[in-house]
Symmetry: C2
Subunit: 394 residues, 2 copies
Amino acid sequence: MSSSTSSSDRKLVMIPGPIEFSDGVLNAMSTSSQSHTSPEFIKVFQEVLVNTRKLFQSTDSSAQPIVISASGTLGWEICGANFVDKEDKVLVLSTGFFSDSFADCLKIYSDNVDIIDASSFGNIVPYDLIESTLKSAKESGKPYNLITITQVDTSSGVLSNVEKISSIVKSISPETLIVVDGVCSIAVEDLKFDSWGIDYALTASQKAIGVPSGLSISFASGRAMEKALNPNRKITSFYSNLKKWVPIMKAYESGNPAYFATPPIQLIHALRQSLREILSVEGGVETRILKHHESSEKFKNNLNSIGLKLVPEREVAANGLSAIYFPEGIDGPALLKKISDKGINLATGIYKDYKTKYFRVGHMGVSSIGEGRNDVDLCFKYIKESLEELGYKQ
Amino acid sequence: MSSSTSSSDRKLVMIPGPIEFSDGVLNAMSTSSQSHTSPEFIKVFQEVLVNTRKLFQSTDSSAQPIVISASGTLGWEICGANFVDKEDKVLVLSTGFFSDSFADCLKIYSDNVDIIDASSFGNIVPYDLIESTLKSAKESGKPYNLITITQVDTSSGVLSNVEKISSIVKSISPETLIVVDGVCSIAVEDLKFDSWGIDYALTASQKAIGVPSGLSISFASGRAMEKALNPNRKITSFYSNLKKWVPIMKAYESGNPAYFATPPIQLIHALRQSLREILSVEGGVETRILKHHESSEKFKNNLNSIGLKLVPEREVAANGLSAIYFPEGIDGPALLKKISDKGINLATGIYKDYKTKYFRVGHMGVSSIGEGRNDVDLCFKYIKESLEELGYKQ
């Protein structure tokens, strides 16, 4: 496939990111060159930053949107470099591969990173364990400085209850900064940044936000910013240093140019377009989330109806992807190959020993809720047909 | 301007990056979604990595191309995080704002960063000073571990002679790693990575390579890689850690998928297209460089012919941009406004006290050497007309 935006022999991409993009977004990607300090581009970036606040359901003017040229991974480093000191205590709640990788990153910045694992693959971290861990740290006189919650771990498809965990943290250890990895959740799962008291949430462009990969998009609270911008705090990173980036973001949001590194002009145009598409729907982000939930429920019900078992139980399952066990006796790679030959690319598993035991379907953005599209139904049809062709019997 | 690739009321962008892009490159930017692990994308990334070697005029299989989602700035951090230890001695040759910023970045990674400044704004760093500095370090028993040369400092338009400086380093202090900031030079100035003995050269997509901003593109020697990948070396960065990235680059270049962070699919398609355009011309990169030199000479001769003074003397002037002093009595902002109103966006100055005394014209890529285009001549015409309208007399 070369550069066409629609081609009949092209495979539909239904992995948990990158997702399918709208025509408007793809058109914006080919915006002609613009100077990064021109009034035309400043307006675009300004709109993006203002609308990013809405994406995080925030109206708190002390909170800070941050949009940087990078993979989503940079958000982990922004967290480590700006909100974590070497002697800080960090608690990572792990529901899979991506939670663990986040911990790996934070270990560079803190000598005290503790991880609490989910009770089992496909499950959440038990609340009582979170409570007791926070309590004993608090009682020892050394409460955790920061906790991370991976709202959706893309490896397991587990959805953590950020609102509930956040309220536990607030009640036991209110000084602890609450960080949410929202890479596979922002714009598909509910995240009320202000009212849940989140301090930093990070995501990437190529998942539910519906923009090609290349943008690290994140959001920091006033409290987190105070720590990051403390003039006495020495920072050990250059590219992820918020002391460099925040003046740039503030300038553009207020309609002025500023320079630290050249912004990715075309990706920011694409993000403007996608945010417009998301926010122009009545109810904005909340409507988008609701529609994704409906679409996900229908797909998961269909999968269950033919006897397929999902990795996470329904009450802790993400709405932007489904992680599905291969049925007993079915050759996994052969199944994915059959589905791909029919026209849809799905993703393999990606968690330790379970890697070959399950596969993943992404259902975010236009594939899930695009008007006049039936990608999710088509995907179910191909899964069902392919299983039958491989001799699957319920 | 919205998302059209050509619009008659659009300003031509002739700043020293981002530059104007070819239609082929802009089309590639709107490539439909692809899985980052699909055979289709692997082929694209593989071609990009193979062709990146040609861009750096390298055939040394121990050297490593690195293409990462980020602004060019990340290249500085890759250098600091991977090739510099805290106790290492680093020598920065400064010919302007960007050399100084590179030094700022390296100070995070080394406690011993020395800077030698150019003899004056618009000039190069004197060779005898480079020699004596390297010699006295060598004689003290603590030679420099790394030296940086900004081949073209975009702030001053000064072109440093990398071949000559490199041979000085080799003769006095052969153990010193030689690093070239080629952000405003790769694909427009000559850089023979292997034969000049360079250890690391970094650039960005939006300059002479002719691809929208969002890609950090760099190249490391076998000797540099040995230091970076030393298993005993502790690295203090996550996103710029070559121990993470090199296995990914090696996998894609050999035609296999691998995952550390999602690559920027569309930008990599655009880079493939641009590299094809560059390399399909007879003589490849060398022809491209030659053509840029011719175009630059003509433009600079024209500027001189109406009495304009360039910031650097001709023998140390870059070929991808011109830094031009405003003539006495001419209101700088008024001049740039007039030229912009006629249809071309140029850049202001960006170096300390000189900031308001000069302006910059970028002439890289299609604007400089595109078939059937006369952007550079048009730009000269607008500069001349605008000066006349402001009462300029030679």
